[in-house]
Symmetry: C2
Subunit: 422 residues, 2 copies
């Protein structure tokens, strides 16, 4: 039985990457896109202590220069990170040797100004692929950027990493527990992300930066992060592994005098999963043009992997997504997507339920692969009119389970992405 930490983990109002102790951030307008618009597009995160780092990068064969740079830094023995510099407006992907050199030049200049080793700096980019990054513009803005560093500027950092996003995405939690000496202890995990839900395993860049003030062994942090990403960024219809630039970084700077060990690993894991899931859900909510947040629960699959195959196929089907747009209980599209997913099940044993997102009003709509009563359609339609609801598919073929999040597909999506060089 999983422990319930809901009384011990609380949200920090307006929390973000600077909520945990020992972090400062800054953001500035550097006109990276070169369109003269005065918007924040260059951001810096600084940890007062060198931080232990765990990260997760795109599995795309085509990796952007900053991703390749960070992977190289990570491959060094016992990597520690003090600073992350991020730009929006240009992905620095498909830019060849020039792109690699731009990363090196920016990082060197920054490390020199911050008086840290250049192996303590991560760099991230998001934006259009295939254009040279204006490194000079970035380097020219480093001094004013550093000058603005502060410990209550997480919101500016969160704003500066956005691209087609419609709103800032940040969250922080404080976790409190009693240690073996009966002392009350607390630590903070905060983070921010950018990315907007798309209609298929997509190429929209997802960046996420998470900060915590605990001390934690890198191997343990890597392991916890992997599971947390599976439950969050890899359980939304934006698959985080597909763009050239996708990056998730967690820094742990050991500022709060708590070391994560067997005694507190469960609450730390729960808090990290909470932060990542909240950030991932904000991406779905911000689906380009989307208006719905639909939770898909697949249960009774042969394996957890089958459940995920099935959920991912349904969540990414344009026919299912347009059925959400039209509030149409066209359950045949759910059956057909499940059948095309590769998951193993007997179509004549599938049950489908619709439910309000608050867990009320459960409607058993399909039993053994057949609609129970045509008259239930209007009740299901009522649920689908809401902006958030849950669909449960029980494959009745085992114990496999997954929870997945998706959005609808609207005319707005097309308009956003058909814009010349969006």
């Amino acid at each position: 039985m999983k422990k319930d930490f809901s009384d011990q983990i609380h949200y920090i109002e307006d929390g973000g990457v600077t909520s945990a102790m020992g972090y400062r951030a800054a953001a500035i307008s550097a006109d990276i896109k070169g369109n003269g618009k005065d918007r924040l597009d260059l951001a810096l995160l600084l940890s007062d202590n060198k931080a232990t780092v765990a990260s997760y990068f795109t599995t795309n064969l085509v990796k952007a220069a900053p991703v390749l740079y960070d992977i190289k830094i990570l491959s060094k023995p016992n990597p520690k990170i003090s600073a992350i510099i991020v730009n929006a407006g240009n992905a620095n992907a498909c830019t060849g040797v020039d792109g690699d050199n731009d990363c090196i030049n920016i990082v060197s200049a920054l490390a020199k100004k911050l008086k840290i080793h250049q192996d303590e700096v991560f760099i991230s980019s998001t934006g259009v692929i295939g254009s040279r990054l204006p490194a000079d513009k970035i380097i020219a803005k480093l001094d004013p950027l550093i000058e603005q560093l502060d410990d209550d500027t997480g919101d500016m950092f969160a704003d500066a990493i956005l691209t087609t996003d419609q709103f800032r995405k940040e969250v922080a939690v404080i976790a409190t527990y009693t240690d073996s000496n009966d002392e009350l202890k607390s630590f903070i995990i905060g983070g921010t992300t950018k990315g907007a839900g798309m209609i298929a395993p997509s190429l929209a860049t997802m960046l996420a930066f998470i900060t915590t003030d605990v001390e934690i062994d890198k191997t343990l942090l890597d392991k916890i992060l992997k599971t947390a990403i599976d439950k969050s960024f890899n359980s939304i219809s934006v698959d985080g592994d597909m763009s050239t630039n996708d990056t998730v970084v967690v820094l742990a700077n050991a500022t709060c005098s708590i070391k994560i060990d067997e005694s507190n690993v469960d609450i730390f894991t729960e808090a990290l999963e909470r932060v990542l899931t909240d950030l991932a859900l904000m991406i779905v909510e911000d689906a380009e043009g989307g208006t719905k947040l639909v939770t898909l629960i697949i249960k009774g699959a042969k394996t957890d992997q089958d459940a995920k195959l099935c959920a991912s196929k349904i969540a990414n089907s344009p026919l299912v997504k347009t059925m959400f747009t039209g509030n149409d209980p066209n359950w045949g599209r759910l059956m057909s997507s499940a059948g095309a997913s590769g998951a193993d099940f007997n179509p004549n044993k599938v049950d489908i339920f619709f439910q309000d997102s608050d867990g009320e009003n459960l409607i058993h709509y399909v039993k053994n692969g057949l609609i129970i009563d045509d008259n239930l359609e209007s009740a299901v339609h009522e649920i689908m009119l809401k902006s958030q609801y849950t669909i449960i598919l029980d494959l009745n073929n085992g114990e496999g389970f997954t929870k997945f999040y998706t959005s609808d597909l609207t005319v707005e999506y097309i308009k956003i992405n058909a814009d010349y060089r969006s």
Copy 2:
């Protein structure tokens, strides 16, 4: 070197399923949808001789009742088909035992009226999933349907099988050759299809019915059909294997006194591939809301399979499709899709070309993973403004090759599919 049969294979004006000798067709309005609209939605194809049959059905785990019925007929020894009855407006999928019985009842009634064995009848359906097929309405229309059977009614048959399609899709060719006795011989292959291109491996039903008057061994026909489908229906961004109802049927009724053997198998193969490819391209052209027909050529892949992986990923990417909509030479989306496809290549060796569909005006845009000259952008944009053009990706990693066809993604697509119960 592949033989060129272009002088020997010619289109038959207004040709279709009744162009080959010994076939008759009919269509009627049966109000299958029950909305009172007077549109053709029930069609019958009859071969005067029992025909050898080859077919290809959906690989979806959830198979419609008529698909399961036909598969059962095919599993009997030496199957021969004389009639195919097809309805639009209802897929008879996810309908349980009732759906199975509806198939049996329709086929029995039809076989009795036609005085043929019921194992000589195929049945196909397309339309909404999860509603009971109105079998009584269909059976009540069998007499007038049979009465209308004629050998110049292929167009009515083609009209009656459509759903969201915007236009009728049919084609027929006559192939002429000189046999070993210096006698001029000719045979005909005709066909019709329905289905509309979607934005991802999709669930839109694709039905195709092909007729020829040659005699051919079933094993040989099966083999030729498999290759022809790979080059046609499985090379468009509508993957034909995903809906609950997808069906391709070829009938060969031995009416023209030509037997396909080693001496004429090449021209028969070429003619069948021509018919299937033309029909598949009509599906892409009729993409729901689409306005472009883009040919993707992937060359230099490690294997043909890698080429197909890469082509399919690009062809189905909503970000690539919206780039077509916006006429935007945003080649980074092509690179990123290729990189996410699973195909093996070195991003720094990729070349990308754009070309007019008539083979003129080849522009080398990307070399070794980098744009050659930003000034070429306007020329590429000019090509993309056209309704048909070709993109060539050379992965420079081997001899693997494929040709794939796709369309753009427009606001119309969303409107069509978000309509309540489209």
